[in-house]
Symmetry: C2
Subunit: 216 residues, 2 copies
């Protein structure tokens, strides 16, 4: 069993963390392969020739790309263990809508991140009065949202900007803290200090590259 599921990811990517958590919630054993994005493996290039991006799940030799597509696949393939999407078609549609919303708004990450923080009011409204986005159960949208928002708090620290404060989004904040306290969820997160240092270094490198381009 352990050999038939492979996950190609990187330690700092919220999109990898989604898949890691989904597999763990299903109680599945898998083989995690860390990718070096500056020197991508042949396996990654062959498995995702269109986008050449992580995460990629390889199950019995069949590669699947795009984190939300992978999450749907995991939920359908192991549907009796800890369902991620609700059963009702309308509730499923609502979950897919929010997952898509998170990906569209959070996608460009660092560039669009301030705009994204303005969009959080919609997520705050959706979560209000509920334990999780999935209702009483942690589910699809929770997985999709958590690691992106976690990443947002890392950026917030690096940029010293107020993107997602407790005052502005108390409901999301409480939910974040609840999830950070969950062992399985927390086990998919990289060490905070390491993550902050990495994002800081990457931003500094990007700024240096930009200033060189300007000078040239």
């Amino acid at each position: 069993m352990a050999k038939e599921i492979k996950l190609l990811g990187t330690w700092a990517s919220p999109f990898s963390h989604r898949i890691e958590l989904a597999l763990k919630l299903k109680g599945l054993q898998f083989h995690y392969l860390e990718e070096d994005l500056s020197n991508k493996s042949q396996l990654l290039l062959q498995s995702n020739p269109v986008h050449r991006k992580i995460p990629v799940l390889i199950h019995n030799g069949n590669p699947i790309s795009e984190s939300l597509v992978i999450m749907e696949y995991i939920d359908e393939t192991w549907q009796h263990q800890n369902p991620l999407l609700p059963k009702d078609p309308y509730a499923r549609a609502v979950a897919r809508f929010w997952a898509k919303f998170i990906d569209e708004k959070g996608k460009e990450q660092e560039d669009a991140i301030e705009e994204f923080s303005q969009q959080l009011k919609f997520l705050e409204g959706e979560l209000k009065g509920k334990e999780y986005f999935g209702g009483e159960r942690f589910g699809f949208v929770d997985i999709a949202a958590f690691f992106i928002l976690q990443f947002l708090t890392v950026l917030q620290e690096v940029k010293e900007a107020e993107l997602m404060t407790e005052e502005k989004y108390p409901v999301l904040f409480e939910w974040m803290e609840k999830l950070q306290g969950n062992e399985v969820v927390a086990g998919c997160l990289p060490p905070r200090e390491k993550h902050v240092a990495y994002v800081r270094a990457r931003r500094a490198a990007a700024e240096e590259a930009a200033s060189k381009t300007k000078a040239a």
Copy 2:
């Protein structure tokens, strides 16, 4: 039955056409409401407060937005009539991957359309050797792709650019012609002349607005 399904759309939108076709393929009666995007209805604003965009499907009073999310909902709700997605989870994942690919690449439409036409090689490769993207059956990816590519041919005519020629993409071309010859599919397309005139007028207006901004 006719009253319980409402579709808010616009006649020239490939995203509306997707839903129209999906409903027709399921043999469903529905009430189509044409939206004026310069003066959106209260029903649209209430039904899709996040994006305020068409298409929106309202089923028994429950609104659903985002065309691919709506298509999944239609397929799940009326699963025994003419399935749009295959049954096998891996085949479903592949279909979702391509539908997402089409939406990402085709999304910004007019601006990004030349880049999109370069990406068609991936779709050409995926379709090669098959009757439809869905294999022997017309399905989810076919619906997602057809109206966008049809729109591309309209833009091609307006811009007098070679975006999607038969020489470059013979497989896609043959598939397009096959679908244009299908009565149900063709019945969801606006009259070609009217569509071309509309896109031409919209482009002219956009260009005028841009030149005014420059002058100011």
